[in-house]
Symmetry: C3
Subunit: 472 residues, 3 copies
């Protein structure tokens, strides 16, 4: 297939193509994602096509699971170390035999264009061509030009942010900095994601608190020491180039406790007596605290709420987290974010980027909030929604009340390094199609559409995620 | 009007027409509906046009009611046996005079095409043409070729499933089987719908339990006997060709009680002491139990949640159930279905088809669930949503996470026998329009679109509703 | 920019234009809005362009605030009387410099077309053209033909309803009547909006009750006297031409209390002991009472629920109400409206027009309710939703179950007098685009589309808002 414009009307498609061509070669900013920094620190060759493109991609394995193909047959590691398929070619063939399941899905779009534009494979994947496509990609992976750093440069990535917890020692980022790839204003930076030391619902929370104490040298037996430890770790992240934090919570609830109240909940957590409501209260309170820290140190605050984690319990039991068992849930923002916005919503220096898995808040909650508070920006459609159709619905629903300039621009949010260019390309083409629809309707002149296109593709995320060196 | 493609763009419309033409004459599968089996068992001529097409169609009578025309003037029987309009021509004229109310509605689409394609009446309905259209249809109804069985064959229906309760003796289906029309692999089969013996909120629940005991010969004074009775009735239905069950609940809540807990609630029900929460708990528990039975006997489990029944109390008081007084309500699936999916969601042998009246769950809940559990499939847009626009929104919202192959295919869900072909035609044309939009955007090649079209129109429902003889 | 048709497809756009041209010059009905009656009573010249078009428009000031431009810099008065920008040209330049923020928004559409069609200014607004546009508009504002009454006639407004509370003495409307502009069947009438004497959550409720007693001469120390006072004020409004009431509540909840229960809540309110639940209960109850009064006196009942008022507390603290700090919230109608519809939903004489800020109720709740009860009509997409895209989504989502004739037609709901023609033009063009989409799909013949267009633009609101002299 050629490169879709995501417009049906020929005139709109022509305008969309023109808008896209002008930004096609702009550098890629990836301010939020889950690429393993070791990949770029070590710069080892990628493994086989299946382990690169199928095994770790839970979009792909969940779709196959939904039709009865268990993750073990796709090589996804079991928690008990039990046997799973280890022949990459067998895994690849299984995908090819079931390729029809992906018709109309973003996975198909991403994989197909990755085959073509990253690996130069034009043969369409089918049961009969499985080996041909596999061999062609495998051959490329053996070439030096297909090592991670070479691809990074070929992809035109300007900045890639990985995601680490405060208990991470940032050793990979230190190695990258030593190689001229990391550090402040470097190409690879980290994101400060403290969920492991915030979420008392996690079984390992107290262990993680212990690690936080150790790595920060603070006395985390007290709430004050805990806050101090977090501030210190933020400093360390900032020294390594970090510009953003990220917070993945079940809800968007925020809350301002007094220090005494917060300390009491914290102590119950340490003593193992925290209730589920305590855990929710503490997560909610800490969002406000992190915003307070951001006002001091300039880090952008990202909130990713609304995932019902490990909904598929049997899948979790057999294969653990992040293998496709999460499901979105209805998410309230209007009431949930109010304590945070009461406190800091009017601060222009603060950037709060809010994401959603629940598109049925676009026009009712998210756009009016982002269009009403200086501190708040709308994150790109996320996860189940980072698709051409959902991105169109996002623009159609939020532009009325939020315009373009209260949206933060695309983030790929991916661990699939090789899919980064196509994901950005899809997002840019989706935005181009939306802008072209305005132009085709005589609602926006072409010159303004083109300027907006460049802003969405590059300038807005650069500014909003503070990748422009202006961290205050 | 000619036959709409449901595409505005000429190129998309051309592709849609090509896709549709290839499936236009494929047999119709109607695995879920409410046609009275007596219709086909007796094969008597249909009554007049008004009693055939207006009086029993609550889509039509509710729209007229909404503009102040009471059901009595449309011949809808009163519960108190009070007088209602009995002149079919007067009823027909009332529709014709108010035909403008139906502009843009599915009722207009269905009726107009039924007039044209079933009865060969090309004259558009208007106040002035009311009698002409009436007389033309009435003349046809008097012909032998317009008896139910003749139409069934002309419509190209391969299988039609009616809906009966466990207390039904299936006498009509026995007659059909004796005539070569029913029984396993027959053309007319039943669906096992046990709401009357599950829902303690119904005034007649205990009476229905009595009937269940009588027809099954089980001791329904105990919970164990009740379960046994249900299993026996399922066997009887299966012997008569049934492949599916259906469950119409106010919510999608599921719950796994222990046998002792379930027995206690059941006893409270028998004693008339069940609370509303008991009733909800029992319905929720029984969905899990029915799934357990399905795993044993192979019946497909259909869940139709979210109707707020008899919202219009005055209408219920005067005319009873199923006359247009039901309203959808917000429906949660993510939390509600979890106990069921925890228990049986990973069973590929089990087919659970979930419907909705709440489209604001499409991308957030239904598509991620169906795209994540082997047992779950998405039912076709239902009732208020079985329209060209809602079917488009369904595909646009669910394909990203569920693809096409986790959707179960169209069911007409109708009691209006003569509307069956046009309803399937509208669904096929709607799907063709969506597939054509992907082709027109270069997101799917034509050959794959055509294969998908045939799957959606015929092969998927045949397999998922187990109409292919493969009932395990 | 030329005048958009809101259609991308050229054929659809051509049909849309044809449909629109036929209603372009039909008179404007503005049965719900917030224009200050003094404007037309005094007929003084408008102030400068900034004070006319920017300062009072909270759509504009909130968008600028969202990007860090405080309302004080835009001349919005402070509650504390503190200094704000007073140079209109400076305010205007600030808008021009930030004009890109409005790309794709309805504000841009409205302002741009207001410049062009009301003031004849063709120069596009840009930083460089700020003064030129300002001067051109200012020059026009000095001309006699740009006084309010002259514009009213030029705009082709047939009726404009302002909004007043029962404690208003209607002096402005008396002046208008004396000048031949007001009174029954007059051009400027009022709407009866009793929120200030219904909502016990308001700080000034008891003071307002005092004013109600004074103006009505009733003993408002008792609930019966309070009801009598409201009935008397309705009579006074009706004598001044009023045909509608309006009710802006946080939720759509309705409730039927006994007189004794209502009296008890009322007394708690007078004594300052009402809880928040009391306030909600009383609001809910009063909606049913107002419907009862409407059945007697013929006033149309409008319900505007779902605004979370003054969400932005700092903005409220500095600048007060109605300056852009309100946010929509999720709104239930199915359960909330049931007590009202149980009581009066089957009354064809009663017109209840229900609005929403929550589009995620369109197909699930609002359309089925309006398509099922004679008394209920759907209000036009409101506030955050009165945009071309949201109006398209409204028609696409509600027409299936409600058709066109259960929708009440456009209301501009604006205080921005000069924006009235463009708002109606946008609504008419949006409806034309939707009707054209049906025509282009062969779902509606052109003659019926044209008739529907005229009904939506003029005849439906005239009848439903009882502007046709038929007030019973």
């Amino acid at each position: 297939m050629s490169e879709p414009t995501f417009a049906i009307d020929r005139r709109q498609a022509g305008i969309a193509r023109e808008l896209f061509e002008a930004v096609r070669d702009m550098p890629l900013l990836s301010p939020h994602g889950h690429v393993d920094p070791r990949l770029l620190a070590d710069d080892d060759p990628f493994p086989d096509p299946a382990r690169l493109l199928i095994v770790p991609d839970h979009y792909v394995t969940r779709m196959l699971l939904s039709q009865g193909i268990p993750p073990s047959r796709l090589g996804v590691p079991r928690r008990d170390g039990g046997e799973v398929e280890s022949d990459p070619r067998a895994i690849w063939r299984l995908l090819a035999e079931n390729w029809h399941l992906f018709r109309g899905t973003p996975s198909r779009l991403w994989l197909e264009q990755t085959f073509r534009t990253v690996f130069g494979v034009e043969t369409p994947l089918r049961r009969e061509t499985a080996d041909e496509v596999y061999d062609a990609i495998a051959a490329r992976l053996a070439e030096p030009g297909f090592r991670p750093r070479a691809l990074f440069e070929r992809f035109g990535i300007e900045v890639l942010a990985t995601t680490e917890s405060p208990t991470d020692d940032l050793a990979q980022h230190a190695k990258l900095a030593a190689d001229g790839w990391g550090g402040p204003d470097g190409r690879v930076i980290s994101t400060f994601r403290p969920d492991n030391v915030v979420d008392m619902d996690r079984e390992d929370w107290r262990d993680e608190i212990g690690k936080l104490g150790a790595i920060s040298g603070s006395d985390v037996e007290t709430y004050a020491g805990y806050i101090e430890a977090l501030r210190k770790r933020r400093e360390a992240f900032i020294a390594a180039g970090t510009t953003c934090t990220d917070h993945g919570h079940p809800t968007a609830r925020t809350l301002k406790l007094t220090p005494a109240e917060a300390a009491a909940v914290y102590q119950r957590g340490l003593q193992g007596n925290a209730t589920r409501e305590d855990a929710e209260t503490f997560r909610a309170h800490m969002l406000v605290e992190f915003a307070r820290m951001s006002l001091d140190d300039g880090l952008v605050l990202q909130i990713h709420p609304g995932a019902n984690r490990d909904h598929n319990r049997k899948l979790y039991a057999s294969h653990g987290k992040d293998v496709g068992g999460d499901i979105p849930q209805a998410t309230d923002y209007v009431h949930a974010l109010r304590p945070l916005l009461d406190e800091f919503g009017m601060e222009s220096r603060l950037h709060i980027v809010v994401y959603t898995l629940d598109e049925y808040t676009f026009s009712r909650e998210l756009a009016p909030l982002a269009g009403g508070y200086p501190a708040m920006f709308l994150g790109a459609p996320w996860w189940f929604l980072d698709t051409p159709d959902a991105m169109r619905r996002f623009r159609e629903a939020v532009t009325d009340a939020a315009g373009f300039y209260n949206t933060a621009g695309f983030v790929d949010d991916t661990r699939a390094f090789c899919s980064i260019p196509v994901r950005h390309s899809v997002a840019r083409r989706s935005d181009a199609a939306y802008l072209a629809s305005l132009v085709a309707q005589d609602r926006l002149p072409m010159d303004e559409a083109a300027e907006t296109m460049a802003d969405l593709a590059y300038h807005l995320p650069k500014r909003i995620f503070k990748l422009d060196g202006n961290t205050k």
